[in-house]
Amino acid sequence: MLAVATPEVLWWALLPVLFLSVGGLLLLTVASLVRRLPDWLPQAWTVVTGLAVLVACVPMWCEVRDEGPRTTLAGSVAVDGSTVLVTAVLAAVVVAVALLARPYLRREDLPGVEVYVLLMLSAAGGVVMASADDLIVLFLGLEILSIAVYVLAALHLRRIESQEGAMKYFVLGAFASAFLLYGMALVYGATGSTRLALVAEHLSATVLVDDSMLLAGIALLLVGLAFKVAAVPFHAWTPDVYQGSPTPVVAWMAAGVKAAGFAAMVRVLVTSLGTHASDWAPPVGVLAVASVLVGAVVAVLQTDVRRMLAYSSVAHAGFLLLGVQAADADGTAAVYAYLVVYALLATGSFAVLTVMGGDGDAAHHLDDYRGLARRRPVLAGAFTLLLLGQAGVPFTGGFVAKLGVLAAAVADRGYWVAGLAMLGAAAAAFVYLRILVSMYLEDPDAEAADGSTGPAVPLGARVVIGVACAGVLFVGLVPGPLLDLARDAVPVLVGS
C-alpha cells in the first residue's frame, strides 16, 4: 500500500481562490440550468464575489502581519503580504471589470454570462500564481489565468480583430508557457526541487561547479514571464490583443494579468533566485530599458488609442522591471506600489475607452477623441488625470510609482538604466499629450459638433472611473499609506 502524507491546509488562506473558483463555477452551473437569467444577476454575483475576496483579504492581512508569513499545502502556497496585496488588487480589478462589462455586453449585443465566469476563474488563476511558492503551482496558476484570458480575448464574436488577437495571444502564449515549463525543468534539474524555498536553500548552501543548467533555466523562466508581462522583445502580441479584445477585458489584461505576472516574477527571481541576482539582474535591466524605450517610441507612431495604451503598458512593464532588476527589498516594494497604482491607472483608462468605444467597440481612433472636452468635460477631465498619472506627473500616483522604482534603481547604482528609462518616460509623455491635444485642442468635427453630446457614461463606468481618479490623486498627495503597504508586502522565504 502506498502511504501518502496528506498536507495540512490553512483554509482561511485559500478563501480567495475558493471564493473566485466556486463563484465562477456556481454561476456557470446556474446559467446552464436556468434558461433566461436577468443580465444584472451575473454582474451582481461577480461584484459580490470580488468584494467578498476583498473583505477576506483584511483579516488575512492582519493575520500575516501579526503572525508572520507562512506556507500551506506542503509548502507550495505562500501566505504572506505579497499574496494578500496582489489578491486584493486582482479582486478589485475583477469588481471594476464586472462593472464595466454589463453595459458593454448590452451595447455590443453579446451573450452574457461567460465573461463573468471566465473573469473569476482567471482571477483565481492569478491568485494562485501570485501565491505560488512552488514552480509547478506557479505554472498551474499561470495556465488557469491564461487560458481564461485567451477565451476572453476572443469574446467579441462579430469583430474579426477580436478573433485575430485571441489567436495570436493563444499561440504565442502557449509558446511562452512551453519556455517557462522548460525553464522550470532545468531549474529543477540544477537544484533538485521545484519549491522556491528549497531552491533558494540549495543555492545558498552549495556552490555549483557548473551552473550552466541553472542559468539556462533562469533564462527560460525569464522569457516565459517576460512574455506574460509584455516586456520587449516579448511584447509583439500586446498591441493586436489590446486592440482586438473587448475593452473591459483589456482592462483585466493590463491591470490583472500584469499584477499576477509581476508578483510571480518577483517571487521567483528576487526571493528565490536572489543569490544569483548578479546573473539575472543585468538582462532584466536590459529588458527594462528596452521596454520603456520601445514602448514609448512605438506608441508615438500609433493613431489608435488602444494601441497607444498597449504600447504604453509595455513601457510601464519596463518601469516595473526596473524595480525587479534592483533585486532588493526596496525594489520589490516599489514594484508592489507600482502595481497598485498601475492597476488604478489602467482600469480607469480602459474604463474610459470602454465608454468611448461606441457601438461596435470601434471608435478608438485618435480623431474620435476630438473635442471631447467640449462634449463631455467631466469624462475628458477624468481621462486627463489618468493620462497625466500614466505620464508620471507630480502629485499623481504615477509619479509616486515611478519615483519608487527609479529610487530603487539609482540606489543600486543603476544610473544608466534609470537615466534611459527617464528619457523613455519623457518620450511616453508625448503619447499622452497627443490624446490630450485631441481632446482639448482640436475642435470636434462638424458632424460631431452639432448637438451631439458624446457617448453616454453608464453608472458602472462612472463608479470605476471615479474611484480610479480618486485613488490616483490620493496616492499622489498622500503616498505614505501605499508605500507602507508595499513595504509590508515584500515576500520573504519561509523555510520548509
Binding site: 497625466l388 506627473v393 507630480p394 509616486v400 519615483l403 527609479l406 534609470a418 518616460a425
Partner: protein, 544 residues
C-alpha cells in the same frame, strides 16, 4: 505616518503668526479647487474668486517682504517643515532667503495683474483654476528647500502652462504647447535621476539616512567631485531648457507667441526664472565645484544668447515674437551674471530676474492690448499708433526703455551690475555682452518707431487708447520700474547678504578659487571668507 498634515513646524527664527510659506503654496491650490467647484456660467464670479485668491497670496508675499529680517538676509527664514514620504526622507521644507524673497514677491504681484488684465473669452472656470494651480506650483519651486519637493513643483508647473497655452492660445497653439511640454519634460527627466543619485551618494558618504534636504546636502559637500559634475550636468540640462539657454531655446518663441497674454506674462515674468533660480540655488549652492568647472561653458552660451537673441529679435515681423526673442537676450545676461561667480554678477543677475519679470511682463501686456484692439501683431500692419493712443504709446516707451536698460529705470541697475561682475571675472565676455545692450536698443527702438510713429492709416488711426482698467493694471508695474531704477537699495540690501554667503560658499568649496573682483580699485568689497557660507554677514546690510 507621513501625511500632509497641517503640522508644519514653524522655525524659531521669525515671529510669524502663522505658517506663511505653506499658505503661499496652499492658498492658490485651494483657490483653484474652489474655482473649479463654482458654477461654470458665472464668469464674473469666477474671476472674482480667482483674483481674490491671488490678491491674498500677493498680499502675503508683500507682507513677507516686511516680515523679512534684513539683518539676517543670508539665513533661511520662515522655515517650516512637514514629513511627506518618510521612507525616502522627503519632507515639505519651505523657506526664503534673500535670493528667493524677491522672486516670491514678483510671483505674488504678477499673478493678480495677469488675472485682472485679461479675460480668457471661453472656458473661464478651467482657465482660472489652471492659473491658480500654476501659481501654487511656482511658489512651491521658489520656496522649496527639499530637492524632491523642488522637483515636484518644477515639473507640475508644466501641466497648467500646457493647458493655458493649448486651450487659450493663438494660432499654432497645440504645436507650441506640446513643444513646450516635451522640451521641459525631457530636460528635467534626467534631473530626477540626478536628484536621486545625489541623495543616495550623500547618504552613503555621510552615513546617515537618505535625505533630500537641500541645506544638509549642500553644506556637507560629501559627494566626490566627478560624480558631482555628472549630477550637476543633469541639473543644468533641466535648468538650461527652462531658462532657456541658447541652443535649447527654440520652444520659447513658439510658446510665448502662441500663449494667451496672461500666459505670456506669467511665462516670461515667472516661469523663465525657475531655470535661473535653479542655477543659483541648486547649481551654485549644491555644486560649487562643478559650477566653477562648467562656468566657461555657461558664460559662453550666455553671451551667445545675448547676441543671438538680439539679432534674431531685430529680424522679427511679429511684435510678440520680437519680445519673446528679447527674453532670450535678457536671460543671457542673467546667466552671464550668475556664472561670473562674484557678488556683483550674481546680484545683478538676481536683480535682472526681477526686472525682466516686471518689464517683459508689462511689454507682453501692452502687446496683448494692441492685439486686442487691432487683431494683428504684425509690425508691418501697425503704424502711427502714437496719434490714436498717446497714453498707450507713452507707457510703452517707459517699459521699452526699462527693457533696454536706460539709466534711471530698473533695467539699468541689473544690467550694469551684471556687466561689472562679468568684467571683473572675464573681461571679454563683458565686452561682447555690452554690445548686446546696444543691439537691444536697436531692435526695440526700431520696433517702436515702426509701430507707434509714422502716418496712421485705416484701423490704426482709430485705435482706442488705454482704458482705465488697463491703466490701473499697468500702474503697479510702472511704479516698480521707476522705483527700482531710482532707489534699488531696499532690494539690494536684502539680496546682498545671501549672495555674499553664496559666493563665500563657492569660494570655500572650490580649491584655489577666489571671488574675481575689480582689478582697478576697491570700490566693491571683496567676498569675505565665511567658513560655512551660512554664517552671518550683518556688516553687509548697507553697502550700497
Amino acid at each position: 505616518m507621513s501625511a500632509l498634515a497641517p503640522t508644519a513646524v514653524l522655525a524659531a527664527s521669525s515671529a510669524v503668526p502663522f505658517a506663511v510659506l505653506p499658505a503661499l503654496v496652499l492658498v492658490p491650490a485651494v483657490g483653484a479647487l474652489l474655482v473649479a467647484c463654482l458654477p461654470r456660467r458665472r464668469p464674473e464670479l469666477l474671476k472674482l474668486a480667482a483674483v481674490t485668491t491671488s490678491v491674498v497670496v500677493g498680499g502675503m508675499a508683500v507682507w513677507l517682504l516686511s516680515g523679512f529680517d534684513v539683518d539676517h538676509g543670508a539665513d533661511l527664514q520662515f522655515v517650516s517643515s512637514a514629513t511627506w514620504m518618510a521612507d525616502l526622507g522627503i519632507s515639505w521644507t519651505l523657506g526664503v532667503d534673500g535670493i528667493s524673497l524677491f522672486l516670491v514677491v514678483l510671483t505674488g504681484v504678477l499673478f493678480p495683474i495677469a488675472l485682472l488684465a485679461v479675460d480668457p473669452g471661453h472656458d473661464d472656470r478651467a482657465y482660472y483654476a489652471w492659473l491658480l494651480l500654476l501659481e501654487a506650483g511656482v511658489m512651491g519651486v521658489f520656496l522649496a528647500l527639499d530637492l524632491m519637493v523642488f522637483f515636484l513643483c518644477f515639473e507640475v508647473v508644466l501641466v497648467p502652462m500646457y493647458f493655458l497655452i493649448g486651450r487659450w492660445g493663438h494660432g499654432n497653439r497645440a504645436y507650441a504647447a506640446t513643444k513646450f511640454f516635451l522640451y521641459t519634460m525631457a530636460g528635467s527627466a534626467l534631473m530626477l535621476v540626478g536628484i536621486l543619485a545625489l541623495a543616495f551618494l550623500h547618504a552613503d558618504a555621510v552615513g546617515g539616512p537618505v535625505t533630500f534636504d537641500l541645506v544638509a546636502i549642500a553644506e556637507a559637500q560629501a559627494v566626490d567631485a566627478t560624480a558631482a559634475r555628472w549630477i550637476f550636468a543633469a541639473f543644468a540640462l533641466a535648468f538650461a531648457v527652462k531658462v532657456p539657454i541658447f541652443p535649447l531655446h527654440t520652444w520659447l518663441p513658439d510658446a510665448h507667441t502662441e500663449a494667451p497674454t496672461a500666459g505670456s506674462v506669467i511665462l516670461a515674468g515667472v516661469l523663465l526664472k525657475l531655470g535661473t533660480y535653479g542655477f543659483l540655488r541648486f547649481g551654485l549652492y549644491l555644486f560649487p565645484e562643478a559650477s566653477h568647472f562648467f562656468a566657461p561653458v555657461f558664460l559662453t552660451l550666455g553671451v551667445v544668447g545675448i547676441v543671438y537673441g538680439a539679432v534674431v529679435a531685430t529680424m522679427q515681423r511679429d511684435l510678440k515674437r520680437l519680445v519673446a526673442y528679447s527674453s532670450v537676450a535678457h536671460l543671457g545676461f542673467i546667466v552671464l551674471g550668475t556664472f561670473a561667480l562674484n557678488t556683483e554678477g550674481i546680484e545683478g543677475g538676481l536683480l535682472q530676474m526681477v526686472n525682466h519679470g516686471v518689464s517683459t511682463g508689462a511689454l507682453f501686456l501692452l502687446v496683448g492690448m494692441v492685439y486686442e484692439r487691432r487683431h494683428t501683431r504684425q509690425i508691418d500692419e501697425l503704424g502711427g499708433l502714437q496719434k490714436s493712443a498717446p497714453v498707450l504709446a507713452g507707457v510703452f516707451t517707459v517699459v521699452m526703455l526699462s527693457s533696454i536698460g536706460l539709466p534711471g529705470l530698473n533695467g539699468f541697475v541689473g544690467e550694469f551690475l551684471v556687466l561689472v561682475g562679468a568684467f571683473n571675472a572675464h573681461r571679454w565676455f563683458a565686452v561682447v555682452a555690452a554690445g548686446g545692450v546696444i543691439l537691444a536698443a536697436l531692435y526695440l527702438l526700431w520696433a517702436y518707431q515702426r509701430v507707434f510713429h509714422g502716418p496712421a492709416e485705416g484701423d490704426n488711426a482709430t485705435m482706442p487708447d488705454l482704458r482705465l482698467r488697463e491703466g490701473l493694471v499697468l500702474a503697479p508695474l510702472l511704479a516698480l520700474i521707476v522705483f527700482m531704477g531710482v532707489y534699488p537699495k531696499p532690494v539690494i540690501e536684502r539680496m546682498e547678504p545671501a549672495v555674499d554667503a553664496l559666493v563665500a560658499h563657492v569660494e570655500h568649496h572650490v580649491d584655489g578659487f577666489t571671488e574675481p573682483t575689480s582689478q582697478f580699485g576697491s570700490e566693491v568689497e571683496p567676498g569675505h571668507g565665511d567658513d560655512d557660507g551660512h554664517g552671518e554677514s550683518d556688516d553687509h546690510g548697507d553697502d550700497h
